[in-house]
């Protein structure tokens, strides 16, 4: 039933009147209660103190805010990274002619340059080749090979990257909150592994202030390194190159905060690297072994420089024991021809010739043998296998490379970059330091 409109308005008028009366009554009662007098008295009393109160509040607020800022870093990953201006250079320490002769080294390395295929050139091949040859290497005898400066340019300058791969290609370098990320595992125009490109740049000595150009503008290599460190999670799937980057840039700093605010240390990273069973990990776990070897070397170098070691004695001992056991397995499972395949922790390659079986292809053998020779070449002598093992392994590589066509060498170029680097390291040099023109002259 509808209420008559006139009745409603009368009701509202009544309500207003009641409210007015209530207000008058309440005002009268308030006066009788002395509330207004109390309020006035309160004002008088308080006025003497307002300035002191305000000043005290400013002081307290400043103290709390200051303490929050000062202590807050403990719970975030915003800790200061005391990065080295230049990465630690881990030099080869042996010159073993019995592993490979100068002539063999020259003739093998001369063929291992990366042919420039323009937009067809893989980023993963480029950073592998840069790692092998370094940023200054040129190949006057073979103009088709990508030079060091050109490889550096493609990896660190988006303008050059866009020229080679097209302006529409997704950029390789992506600025993010924690620094610059290198796009990885997203096709041929991205890095093949997480932090692989950054680690390669670190291994060839790229300083932090090296100019890097992204699609958004110029920056420095520091941004890439900081991203690697701040974004690192101990349990990420691929961790070997992140660990390597940190090993080359952080010491003598031994602890820092990773993502989640987790306090990182080289001890934790070494434990992580040794956690999974062999041969789990990229390239038959060999990058895990390489990263551990580099940590041992840097650990020694820190002591030589008068800094504390980066590994605790327990972890260092555990690392050496671990690598010793790896060496034992490698020695036990080497094929008489000198090679290993991807099943190296458990068995030797079954036949002299590589098969098409997963883990035993020629590529697998090149990976397993080249990588093993590489980390041994940098490892402390106590971790080396008997000389015969080294000799047969290096000679298997030399012979195999000799037998490969140029096309096959380009196909296996990334794998061979490790083998070629290993051969040079056994002669106390980096591949970029080997004189490749002498052979041409003598020819």
């Amino acid at each position: 039933m509808k209420t008559p409109k006139r009745f409603c308005s009368a009701k509202r008028a009544n309500k207003r009147r009641i409210n007015e009366l209530a207000h008058q009554e309440n005002t009268r009662r308030l006066s009788s209660l002395g509330i207004d007098r109390m309020a006035r008295q309160e004002k008088v009393n308080g006025s003497r103190h307002w300035a002191a109160f305000a000043a005290l509040q400013v002081v307290i607020f400043a103290a709390v805010a200051g303490a929050a800022v000062y202590r807050g870093g403990r719970f975030t990953n915003q800790s200061t990274l005391a990065l080295r201006a230049e990465p630690i250079e881990v030099r080869p320490q042996y010159d073993y002619e019995f592993v490979i002769t100068d002539e063999q080294l020259q003739s093998t390395l001369r063929r291992l340059g990366l042919v420039d295929r323009g937009a067809e050139t893989l980023i993963s091949a480029t950073d592998h080749s840069l790692r092998m040859w370094g940023p200054r290497r040129t190949f006057p005898y073979e103009p088709k090979f990508l030079s060091g400066p050109e490889m550096m340019s493609r990896l660190t300058d988006h303008r050059r990257f866009a020229e080679v791969y097209g302006a529409d290609s997704s950029p390789l370098l992506i600025p993010e909150e924690t620094g610059i990320r290198v796009r990885a595992i997203e096709g041929p125009l991205s890095s093949s592994h997480i932090d692989h490109t950054v680690a390669c740049l670190a291994e060839v000595g790229t300083p932090l202030d090296y100019q890097v150009v992204t699609a958004q503008g110029p920056s420095t290599f520091r941004e890439l390194v900081e991203h690697t460190i701040k974004d690192f999670d101990l349990n990420q799937v691929e961790y070997e190159w992140s660990a390597l980057t940190m090993t080359l840039f952080l010491p003598p700093q031994r602890e820092w905060r990773g993502s989640d605010g987790q306090m990182m240390s080289f001890d934790l990273i070494a434990d992580r690297i040794m956690r999974e069973r062999l041969p789990r990990g990229v390239c038959g776990a060999n990058h895990r072994l390489h990263a551990l070897t580099m940590m041992l070397r840097v650990d020694d170098m820190m002591e030589d420089e008068g800094h504390p070691r980066i590994l605790s004695s327990d972890v260092r001992t555990a690392t050496i024991e671990y690598l010793t056991e790896v060496t034992r397995k490698l020695v036990a499972h080497q094929h008489p021809s000198g090679c290993w395949n991807m099943r190296w922790p458990d068995e030797a390659p079954p036949e002299h010739e590589a098969s098409s079986e997963d883990g035993d292809t020629l590529g697998d053998r090149l990976i397993a043998t080249g990588h093993a020779l590489e980390w041994w070449s940098l490892a402390p002598q106590e971790l080396h296998p008997p000389r015969g093992v080294l000799v047969s392994a290096s000679q298997w590589i030399v012979t195999t490379v000799e037998g490969l066509s140029d096309e096959e060498i380009q196909r296996y170029n990334s794998y061979l970059s490790h083998a070629g680097r290993a051969l040079a390291l056994w002669r106390g040099r980096l591949p970029g330091e080997v004189d490749l023109t002498a052979n041409e002259t003598s020819n």
């Binding site: 309160e42 109160f53 303490a67 975030t76 349990n235 956690r275």
Partner: protein, 591 residues
């Protein structure tokens, strides 16, 4: 809300015209006549011990809470992890510096914010086992509601309102009743703060008034409460937020009233609220962690891992506690609209902040429920009185109560029910029992708690009775059989099991067990947590995951991981090492 029709009893016969002899005047002969049909009984007890219906309601509710809480199983919350940490502290005589039970949490920033609770829980457990723990938490539930009743009574001067308030709190927060963990100590402190605030905010403002301003003891008590609270549980931050709401409310009210910032800063009420907040904050720094603790707790709720845990998820109407929360909001809106009692800005702010917090995370219901009852009870009582026509001209109107509150309190100083408290007792004479009170009620107030106590397992050592079974005591979800197996055949290496089982399996199974994830979810590195969820939710390849974490044994719950169990049965290199109706344990074939 008082009882208006006292039952017929001995006291009702007593009238001012025919005073009964006092206890001192009664002779031995009088005692002999007690059994005679003509004898008139007279109370020997102090009339102040005569209680009323509201007392009976409160006692009955508290007894029911004690009874129900006693029978709640010690289900798989993080209780057993706290026992483990408490024992660790007792054993080592210091606080742990890092997470102790998860293999992959090294380096995670760890503050043992609940160390005092853990010590209490572990000590109680060592003293009387799980049964005593159960009794402890039942006792805590009673203390919480008793404190809340006191706090509401302080505000309303009404026992009926207090009874209504604890019922409201229980209804709104029922879903948290079964939470048996250090959080209950935090809730005790929270209601303690409400009680303290009920007193604190009712002190007169005049400095010259000899009775004015809270005594130093009250300030110290406030800071001490926070010092204890901060060592018991990280929820002390909720107390600071509550005080912040009141300080803010006082500022706004003062600004509204006075119109200038200078006047606000001069306002003694504002100053007192702010000083109280600061004093309590200072108290909360009295922990082994100093200033790091508030920072740690403030950042804690932002932990990404917690977003995947039910109690940190937003409330869902159809979900746990959702319906009662929605109903509570409706009741609040109606009550605040209809109530003739003034509500302060601070109370509004607190209600909104804690309401939003509860809507954002189920867990916050623990604090919202008592606050809701504390704030809303006077308004609900007022609303009922308005609706039922009990509102009288003497009841304070909005304006008056506002003005009174401005000077003195947040809520009306006039009681919401006819008072039968001390002043009336004093004027009623030494032997007169006030209307509405009776020794019958007093007797019932003794019998009901005793009955409740007698029916609980707490009474078993005193009154005898059988022990509860493991299932009754620990709940059906606790994997008792599996823990027995693990105690006999320990697992060497990282271990995957549902997080709800981890704490118990370490506690009762193998103390060296290394579960991938325990209840310290915020201490789990993000990647580990993501992988753990992917494995238990069957979203990933198990081969790689198990190897990445070097898992050597996997325990799965038949009720919720059927697919994963089928998958593991097919997994090469794994064998079933144990199976019962609840759980399956797989071990690596070489183990």
């Amino acid at each position: 809300m008082s009882s208006t029709s006292p039952p017929s009893d001995a006291s009702s016969d007593a009238s001012p015209e025919s005073p009964e002899p006092s206890a001192g005047e009664m002779s031995a002969d009088d005692d002999g006549d007690v059994f005679g049909t003509e004898a008139s009984l007279s109370p020997k007890l102090d009339p102040r011990l005569a209680l009323g219906a509201p007392h009976l309601i409160i006692v009955s509710v508290l007894s029911a809470v004690f009874l129900v809480a006693n029978y709640l199983p010690l289900r798989g919350t993080d209780l057993w992890l706290h026992v483990l940490y408490g024992n660790w502290i007792l054993e080592h005589g210091r606080l742990p510096q890092q997470e102790q039970f998860m293999p992959y949490s090294q380096g995670m920033e760890f503050l043992d914010t609940q160390w005092l609770s853990q010590l209490i829980i572990a000590s109680v457990n060592n003293l009387g086992g799980a049964e005593l723990l159960s009794s402890l938490f039942a006792f805590c539930a009673v203390v919480i509601n008793l404190c809340l009743a006191y706090a509401i009574h302080q505000r309303t001067k009404s026992l009926s309102a207090a009874a209504l308030g604890i019922c409201l709190s229980l209804i709104v927060g029922w879903s948290r009743l079964g939470t048996i963990r250090p959080e209950v100590f935090g809730v005790i402190c929270f209601v303690g703060l409400l009680a303290l605030l009920s007193r604190f905010r009712s002190w007169p403002m005049e400095r010259d008034d000899p009775n004015g301003g809270p005594a130093l003891g009250w300030w110290i008590a406030s800071a001490a409460l926070f010092a204890v609270w901060a060592n018991l549980h990280g929820s002390f931050v909720t107390g600071l937020i509550l005080l912040g709401c009141f300080a803010l409310g006082d500022c706004i009210e003062s600004l509204w009233r006075n119109g200038s910032l200078r006047d606000v800063l001069s306002d003694q009420r504002v100053q007192r609220s702010v000083y109280l907040l600061e004093f309590c904050f200072l108290g909360s720094l009295l922990t082994p962690f100093g200033f790091d603790l508030p920072l740690y707790v403030a950042l804690f709720s932002g932990n990404e891992n917690l977003q995947e845990v039910l109690e940190w998820r937003p409330l869902v109407i159809q979900g746990v506690g959702g319906r009662t929360f929605a109903a509570a909001i409706v009741v609040a809106v109606v009550a605040l609209r209809q109530s003739r009692v003034r509500i302060g800005v601070g109370e509004y702010a607190a209600l909104i902040v804690f309401g939003l917090a509860a809507a954002y995370g189920v867990r916050m219901l623990s604090w919202f429920a008592p606050l809701y009852a504390w704030v809303l009870t006077p308004h609900i009582v007022s609303t009922v009185r308005v609706w039922t026509g009990f509102a009288t001209a003497t009841e304070p109107t909005d304006l008056e109560s506002s003005a009174v509150a401005t000077a003195d309190t947040d809520t009306p100083t006039e009681p919401l029910e006819p008072s039968t408290s001390e002043p009336e007792l004093a004027t009623a004479g030494p032997n007169l029992i006030p209307p509405g009170r009776s020794f019958h009620y007093s007797l019932a107030c003794l019998v009901i708690p005793w009955t409740a106590f007698a029916l609980t397992p707490t009474a078993t050592p005193l009154l005898g009775g059988g022990e509860r079974t493991a299932t009754q005591l620990l709940g059906e979800a606790t994997p008792v059989g599996l823990s027995e197996h693990l105690s006999e055949f320990p697992v060497d290496g990282p271990f995957l099991c549902p997080q709800q089982w981890s704490d118990w399996l370490i506690y009762a199974g193998d103390e060296n067990l290394q579960p991938l994830v325990t209840s310290n979810i915020h201490m789990v590195p993000r990647q580990v947590w993501v992988d753990y969820l992917a494995m238990l939710n069957n979203r990933t390849s198990w081969d790689g995951m198990l190897e990445r974490y070097r898992i050597t044994a996997v325990a799965l719950d038949k009720a919720s991981h059927g697919n994963q169990i089928r998958r593991m049965r097919r997994q090469e290199g794994w064998r079933i090492a144990y199976e019962d109706a609840q759980a399956v344990l797989f071990r690596e074939a070489g183990e």
